[in-house]
Amino acid sequence: MPWTTANDVSFHYKLEGERGPSTIFLHEIGGSLDSWDGVVPGLVHGMRSFRYDQRGFGLSEKVRAQYSIETLVDDLQHLIATLALPPPLHIVSLAASSMQALEFTRRAPEHVASLVFCNPAPGVAPSRADALNNIAAKAEQEGIRGVLPMMLDKSYPPELSNRDTYDNYRGRYLANDPVGFALAFRMMAKTNMMSLLGTITCPTLVVAGRQDFIRTVTVTETIAKRIPGARFETIDAGHFMPTTSPEALLELLREFWKV
């Protein structure tokens, strides 16, 4: 059964890999569990991978109520309990889902074996909040196509991957529920988890895409420096790293986890 109910919301998920430590993949805003299609299959022999569509995205329930980062972490904790995923957990996040990984780690540090942050966006400066709220409003009014010029066109130049990969991502992107997209942007606009970076004690890998047009390598490196002992790497990848450069990311993950 690819669906389960947790925290009173229906979630679409995939569990892959028979053996190995539990690994959780958190997708980006505008993505879905499919965002990890190029990565998870390469780990089935060493890790037990859990990925799911976050509330309002993919084939999970299209909620209408505004939620907070706490809600998203509640979702994750309920899912872990419902599916009886045994700790310790390895958590991989992309972009804004780093906020969720940080809050989860704050709540249950003893359950977190390692963290991987891909192009993390752990906090939004108050000066950027208006811009994100405007994107949310535009998505609601005009649909996802209305925000393509300010979002996907900036974050994913088609040349960053082969055409099929780009077209597939764009198709999925346009299929997002505009309300779900807006709820996520409004959540992001008022969330800042930067202060948690210094509290991390588990092994951590921070990966910056050298072709990330919406988060610079320098900004990502600055984030890495705030995490005690974190390892920082750059790869040839765009903002949507597991989509544009799954092989390079997979290689890093395998080496980091030694699988």
Partner: protein, 261 residues
Amino acid sequence: MNITANGITFNYRIDGKQGAPWVVFSNSLMTDLSMWDQQAVALSDDFRILRYDQRGHGGTEAPSGRYGFDVLVEDVIALYDALQIGRAHFVGLSMGGVTAVTLAGKHPERVDRLVACDCGPASTPQSAQQWAERIALAKEQGMEPLVEPTVGRWFRAEFVAANPSVVDKVRQMIRTTPVNGFIGGALALSDFDLRPGVPGIKVPVQFVCGGKDAVLPGTKALHAGVKGSSFVEIPGAGHISNLEQPKLFTQALRNFLTDLI
């Protein structure tokens, strides 16, 4: 401020917010770091800004001989090392734009985002001939006879008429450029070809060009060659697009350098 790097003394200036991401500005032939005054003021709240006078320009030393773009890029790296800058956004116009693109190809690890303005992909026999004539003139009579023809090439007549104080500053920059510096830079521009390196550029790049700049097709050709690069045309501007349309230029720059989230 002065600092020694790559064997010569550079004049540079640092502005902006301590600890913020670095933006480095590189000037065009016959100008100096003050060409970026308006951009430096506008970005100083959000960035740490390094401006320097390119080799042979402004207050930087002007050795004799040709300044190849390899040397101008070595200058940048030596300045970064001397000032402890690991990685920075880099913005260059014309000669500075060619410097920028060369830097991105040779040292991507030192580049965050790159903005190359009003520059073309390669010299041509015609452009080399024109530079040879101007070099001959400068050798014989100094910079003065180059002032008005250069202003005429760079700016639209309407802009010159409407902005005498801006153009007078430019005239002064041209006039005071050391002849050695002009010749060194002009020789570099007489013989360069970015095309072999362009397909390998993998840092985020934005190309910018004035809509009335004669080099516009060349800048567009560079944009077409760099995968994933963006292109902004500054409407109504000539060659020194940042001076002619400072607000539009700065907005495009800020949009490109600022993290979306």
